[in-house]
Symmetry: C2
């Protein structure tokens, strides 16, 4: 069992695990998180429901695996979109490309998106294992901001009311930013605040679109989203 010679059983196990996950993803994309059940997935994959227990200890385990896979897929989409921009100093372009990729992914995987960013699934609490996957997309966005600020970008001076304690409020975020080798210029509560706010705004905008809150107000979601992105980038000092 030195990892080289995989038996037929081992190969089958990996393949079927993937097959179950894929079936669950399809169900999720076509029917939403509410319709996702272990039995439904087992039916889709052509197994008896109890057989799935050979691959996932419980429904919650399956959910966790799904969350991780979906987060990773979204994260990869964001990473790829950013990486595809040749001019690494075109921060606005990187920002727009990344955010557009995020929305594109969300629209083509509405069920997954609802699972990740909609109301939490009742009776299920995501374990710590999902964090690294969940963080990938965030890192892409933050990295663009950090790169821009290493290159002289600035955020508008804060309004007069900013309390001294803002750094403490965002200590976790600032710590996280340090992890990413942030330039000193970006290790600033004001930059962190704008970044977190922009991050929330992006997902708020996508959620409003997908969950139907913009019906009647916005007729061209593509155009709307692009303009929102540009304003957010402007706010972050990207160009």
């Amino acid at each position: 069992m030195d990892g080289k010679a995989t038996t037929a059983r081992e190969r089958a196990r990996i393949e079927i695990t993937a097959e179950i996950l894929a079936a669950a993803r399809v169900r999720l994309s076509q029917h939403g998180p509410g319709q996702l059940s272990l039995r439904a997935v087992s039916r889709d994959v052509g197994m008896v429901s109890s057989a799935v227990y050979r691959y996932f200890r419980s429904r919650d385990d399956l959910l966790t695996a799904l969350l991780i896979e979906a987060y990773n897929e979204l994260g990869a989409a964001a990473e790829d979109a950013d990486a595809a921009v040749g001019n690494r100093s075109a921060y606005l372009e990187r920002w727009t490309a990344t955010c557009t990729a995020i929305r594109t992914w969300a629209i083509s995987h509405p069920g997954d998106y609802a699972l990740l960013y909609g109301s939490p699934v009742p009776g299920y609490a995501a374990p710590q294992d999902t964090i690294p996957a969940a963080t990938r997309v965030t890192i892409v966005l933050v990295r663009i901001v950090l790169d821009a600020h290493a290159d002289g970008a600035t955020v508008r001076p804060p309004p007069p009311l900013t309390p001294k304690s803002l750094g403490k409020t965002l200590a976790g975020a600032l710590e996280f930013i340090k992890t990413l080798d942030a330039p000193p210029a970006a290790q600033d509560p004001e930059v962190a605040l704008h970044t977190i706010a922009a991050w929330s705004a992006i997902f708020g905008t996508i959620s409003f679109e997908l969950f139907g809150h913009l019906v009647g107000s916005v007729s061209d979601y593509d155009a709307y989203y692009e303009q929102v992105l540009i304003r957010l980038a402007d706010d972050l000092g990207l160009a």
Copy 2:
């Protein structure tokens, strides 16, 4: 039946309808939309499940009534918070008070909030009846922006890339704004864009907090939210 002399039956009907709704709201606040079922509500209210059908034609009817009640409660909270600001020209104060009231309501009614702004309930589509109630909170926010812009507030000039078609993209929103007797200065796609974006950002921020996406980044949600509000107000030209 001239509406004056209500019979005991009629009074009872109104009271019990309200009682059922109240029980459903309690369930919602304590267990979330996933745990909301007609049977559970009937149990809470001490009735047999079939009896609820005397008051609501179906589960979907009950859901609709709940949505309307919750939207109205949120709308009223926002309206009250705005109205409580004596100086009607203190737009930043009105904005902050209103947005704070929205978040306060959301936090004390997380289940209702998830029902209104989280992932849609599977198999349920909200009917048109919910629109007026849903719009109330939006009107409060928009009204503050409109008042400020009638009073000389301005939004920063848009970045160079703004397309001519932005007005068409936001035609619905501009139409809606006209309904509210918007001053000419505010009948501007750029103002509309900033307003819708701010509206989405507020609910995105609240959702991120309630749905757990800020865990680890933000330690003091009150302080964080207040600073986000101030930046949004700044962006909208409020002061």
